[in-house]
């Protein structure tokens, strides 16, 4: 009984409270803010026919989500492919750390909004592809850091015992990497992967807004310009729910490796 209260009723009360406050604000402080009922009415088409395509910037919400996820998946894959080896080198070599840690610390806090123009400039020669490549660059650069830092941390935290086993057995460098270093640092790496995915999803919205690509973020920006404020809220909720689901999925995968 207690668990049901904790897991169902209390969260439901929380959502109800948020909706009530939203309603009150829309009636009093900000008359422009669509009320919950209005938001639902105007968004119904997008939610109930989630895969419909009526036009380039007028599609079902899940269809937009799918575009965004595809772009995130590409950028995220680049981030992992680049970030993991850098993390390993940072964890294994003091010299490498001394050489590159300062620049990593300087680049890490730069916001996606700052990277995106640079990304677009970088791929200016790519013509039609420029906006996609620029967006991918931005996602990869921003999402890479947690993977880099957590992998480095994981490699540094490998118990001396495991390394002694490798030394006593005279494992080759390759075998040490695949049989000892990678499995031993996997739990840390997965924490990095999860945080990176969260950031990749944050960045996608900014990237789509600025490049005008179809997707949740692009739709949000377009609807703001078209004064359809209800759809902004629809997009925000979609982004939140998708981000939440992604994080849950990753932490499930993470837990699998934690016990190993």
């Amino acid at each position: 009984m207690k668990t049901k209260l904790d897991w169902v009723i209390l969260p439901a009360l929380g959502f109800a409270a948020a909706i009530v406050i939203w309603h009150i604000v829309s009636q009093t402080v900000s008359k422009e803010l669509p009320s919950p009922a209005k938001t639902w009415n105007e968004s119904r088409d997008y939610i109930l026919k989630p895969f419909e395509k009526r036009g380039e910037m007028d599609q079902g919400i899940l269809r937009f989500t799918w575009y965004s996820l595809l772009l995130v998946a590409k950028g995220y894959a680049i981030a992992l492919l680049v970030g993991t080896p850098i993390g390993f080198m940072l964890g294994l070599s003091k010299t490498f750390t001394k050489a590159f840690d300062p620049i990593i610390q300087v680049l890490r806090p730069v916001s996606p909004l700052a990277w995106l123009p640079l990304g677009l400039v970088l791929f200016l020669g790519a013509g039609k592809q420029a906006s996609e490549l620029g967006a991918l660059f931005t996602i990869a650069v921003c999402a890479m850091w947690p993977t880099v830092l957590n992998t480095a941390l994981g490699v540094r935290a490998i118990p001396q015992d495991y390394l002694n086993v490798a030394k006593v057995l005279q494992l080759s460098r390759r075998k040490t990497l695949f049989h000892i270093l990678i499995p031993a640092s996997l739990p840390y790496m997965f924490t990095g992967f999860r945080l990176s995915l969260g950031i990749a999803w944050l960045v996608i919205v900014a990237a789509e807004m600025l490049t005008g690509r179809p997707g949740v973020g692009g739709f949000l920006w377009q609807e703001y310009n078209a004064l359809n404020y209800a759809h902004i809220i629809l997009c925000i909720l979609t982004i939140g729910v998708v981000g939440f689901i992604l994080d849950r999925l990753m932490s499930l995968a993470e837990r699998r490796f934690k016990t190993a």
């Binding site: 015992d161 495991y162 002694n164 086993v165 030394k167 006593v168 057995l169 075998k175 016990t259 190993a260």
Partner: protein, 298 residues
């Protein structure tokens, strides 16, 4: 010249000498136990033989070859098992076998691994991960892994010190049985004189640190197989035990050392702090604010 030979070996960490002028000679097929206090440098000694550490002066030779790096000709059973937690029992041993006998056929490797799993009575648990095993079972896997690579010498670094007394005596019996089966050269490091006497042909005390060195060696004249119950009443055993312990206590006398060490304990926050206390009370001193603490060791 013995099979394993340590000649005038010294080792210091920074300015503090750990081992000084150590001489040891172990014959082929001999079981030697080295007994010492905790912190006397026992693990340092085993690391010198395994090659994980290099001596500052003196030499360590095995079979007339100087030891300069770790290698699979010396099987090591570490104090804390050192099993890879992401591999199961079978895979942990196979990793070692695969590395040492790369030219064997998969079937031969497989049979070899199974043989050693059976030797330590773990056939039932062959697919279990180390986290699913008790401490005693983990240590058996570690023993099986060390033996499966067919080393020239087996180094046991306090293999049983983390186990409860009952499990420890069971494992002592097993080590004794396994040793009698294949008569490997064994160096056992232990802090328990009884364990040393029960298992070894020869027991050598390590004097108290710093700058520890080996004492005289005591031959264990008790016939094998040794019976744990009978041994307690054996006058030889009692005499030997008294001599070893007396020597160790004697070596310790006059060494009243104060160890100053940095404390790196985790800073544990109170789980539910009393808000009233937080606002008005004085904050308790946290553990990480205690920079150092002097512990008197008599």
């Amino acid at each position: 010249m013995g099979f394993l030979e340590l000649a005038n070996v010294s080792k210091s960490f920074g300015d503090s000498p750990v081992l000084q002028n150590l001489n040891l000679s172990v014959e082929k097929g001999e079981f030697v136990a080295i007994v010492g206090f905790s912190g006397a440098g026992k693990t340092t000694l085993i690391n010198l033989i395994s090659g994980l550490l290099k001596p500052d002066s003196g030499t360590v030779t095995l079979n007339d070859l100087e030891i300069v790096s770790p290698g699979p000709d010396r099987g090591v059973v570490f104090q804390n098992y050192s099993l890879l937690p992401w591999l199961n029992v079978h895979e942990n041993i196979l990793l070692a076998v695969d590395q040492v006998f790369p030219n064997w056929t998969p079937v031969k490797k497989e049979r070899h691994v199974e043989k050693y799993i059976a030797m330590v009575n773990l056939t039932e648990a062959r697919n279990k991960k180390p986290s699913e095993l008790s401490g005693g079972m983990r240590q058996r896997v570690s023993v099986a892994r060390a033996l499966a690579i067919d080393p020239q010498i087996l180094l046991l670094d306090e293999p049983l010190s983390a186990l409860d007394a009952l499990t420890r005596s069971t494992l002592q019996n097993e080590i004794s049985r396994i040793w009698q089966e294949d008569r490997k050269t064994v160096v056992l490091i232990t802090n328990d004189p009884d364990e040393g006497i029960y298992l070894a042909d020869r027991i050598i005390p390590l004097t108290a640190g710093p700058a520890a060195t080996l004492g005289p060696s005591f031959k264990v004249q008790i016939r094998r197989p040794r019976d744990r119950k009978a041994i307690n009443h054996d006058p030889n055993f009692r005499q030997l035990r008294r001599e070893v312990i007396e020597f160790m206590l004697e070596s310790q006398r006059g060494r009243h050392t104060a160890i100053t060490k940095k404390l790196v304990l985790p800073d544990i926050e109170p789980e539910e702090p009393n808000p009233a206390l937080l606002m008005f009370g004085t904050r308790p001193r946290r553990r990480n604010e205690v920079k150092e603490e002097t512990v008197e060791v008599s």
